[in-house]
Symmetry: C2
Subunit: 369 residues, 2 copies
Amino acid sequence: MTSPAEKAQSLTPSAIHAAYALIQPYIHRTPLLTCKTLDTIASTPQTPEALVGTPFEGQTPACPKFHFFFKCENLQRIGAFKARGAFHALLRLIEERGEEEVKRRGVITHSSGNHAQALALAASTLNVPAYIVMPRISTPSKIAGTRSHGAEVIFSGSTSVEREAVVAEIQAKTNAILVPPYDDFNIICGQGTTALELEAQYAEQQAGSKTLNAVITPIGGGGLNAGVATYFSDKQTKVFGAEPSFEGADDCRRGLLAGKRVEAVSTLTIGDGLRTPVGLLNWEVISNKEKVEGVYAVTEEQIKAAMRLVLERMKVFVEPSAVVGLAVCLFDEDFRRLVEREGGDEGWDMAIVFSGGNTTVEAISKLYG
Amino acid sequence: MTSPAEKAQSLTPSAIHAAYALIQPYIHRTPLLTCKTLDTIASTPQTPEALVGTPFEGQTPACPKFHFFFKCENLQRIGAFKARGAFHALLRLIEERGEEEVKRRGVITHSSGNHAQALALAASTLNVPAYIVMPRISTPSKIAGTRSHGAEVIFSGSTSVEREAVVAEIQAKTNAILVPPYDDFNIICGQGTTALELEAQYAEQQAGSKTLNAVITPIGGGGLNAGVATYFSDKQTKVFGAEPSFEGADDCRRGLLAGKRVEAVSTLTIGDGLRTPVGLLNWEVISNKEKVEGVYAVTEEQIKAAMRLVLERMKVFVEPSAVVGLAVCLFDEDFRRLVEREGGDEGWDMAIVFSGGNTTVEAISKLYG
């Protein structure tokens, strides 16, 4: 077996280009939106009161300047970037094993929701049977979405360990081929096409006159962040990651601090797409300082505040997981100082990946009711 | 004084073009979006159960085919189409009375919210003082939005009569010039630019090969519908209107049935932008069968169901008032039969104006919690 460190060597920008060529007919080129209101809010210093209880208490709040470019993967097929990775993984599987074998055995995965729907869509599009293991407490819209693509849904507990046990059980019965949700070369390459697209769209909008300073994405299992970091690894654009801090969901940030990947997480953060620990291969990329500049964590209240702004002011429907990157830009004083320092008067042109929009009005009612 | 019937003669497509030339630098060209999921849902017959208790009970549900084009005025400045009319009215006022007089006296209006924010924005942009009379029960985000543009907000009761009384009181003190929310030639022409833009965008998307079959807009005071109907009055595109039926909010539909405009309405429909009776001038246009083909009404539950689909499936953030047109397409069996009959196998290319997106997560919690 190739080790994660060896496999990570093959994660190159050209692997992302190759993935894009393969999946392009199946995915949406989601819009890259701007929003002056959010630029203004993020470019206004926080109040001194907001810094009380933080290491920055009593200091002058930072005054960074942001020009945001929102990559709206909530408008991707199945409502999340996961469609990219799922189509890529399945197309490669068919390429490698042959259509006959893949159709005969089918595919299986476990997912808190978006990867489940994504694999279900890819499988139904390519006429492959799909078995999806989902936590019992998944958002009902995600369960319904998965079933609507003809996949068979099997329920499990919430932790990675519980999910994997159910997967093994079903595999023993069906011989279905596992398509992992994030810790996988082909999944990472598929998710990385988000970066390729947003860079091209940014260049179109700026008429090629500027370079994108930075991009921030959510980190759950880390497929999106690792893919985006791979794509930008030979470019000047800096890559950052964002996580919820609730009940230790910031496993990646904590792992980076400790110099060692955190292997298990048990959290019920409202960012339900971000409850998993970072995968082994993903960790190889994200822990590489030359690829990812830093990972920041935000509280549940900060996620809610960012989500409210996106809904009410930008009028774009997103799920809580999608806005952790924006929440870092708005509320993380450490990150805001970095942007003030490095961006100066011009500020940063900064892409924020809205990873998905699969939530419900009932879930919103629970959050804000 | 010119009568409404005489004034209506001047409401021509060229008046809309003239308005557009004037306001274009100040407004957004909002996107015209499509959504296959909503096309599919609307093109699926209703269940027989859904027709129980309606005049269509026991009959075969209609099978219309819709291809929707959503004009997203929720992404307009201040989050609603009202920015068009307000800028147009104020620019004309300055043209007619001179900048000095308008700046000295200021402008005043009453509005349930979106016109308030729109006039506040136009006034602050053009450096004119603004007094805004708002019902005490207006959505907090709309009150905050109005104040954020530097306008002075004065509260009143909810009915048109109560609002107008407060306006008169403030006018007596300030000599401010009234900019009516909807019953006004310049306002109607401004709102009508929505139609001009969406027709151009439709032509771009279809490469000019087809004609838009129909457009439906919400009707509150009727400015948007009258403006859109004016623009399309010399074209083949049919114009329809949509209202809530709750507590008699469907004053326009009832007026058309009775052959006489309904003069007062007192309703607390969740479509809070649609609580006003149709204006006199607007009525002249909307009651003209050559301009508006028909007006339909939907229940509060139907509005909620349509809004849920737009939020959860289309991922676009809209206010309840915005979706009454979509609700008609989804649930009004009479209208669905018309589209089945006239659209046949090809169906209708149908534009739906999403009038605004000014709601809050708290309001959504109240609706669905």
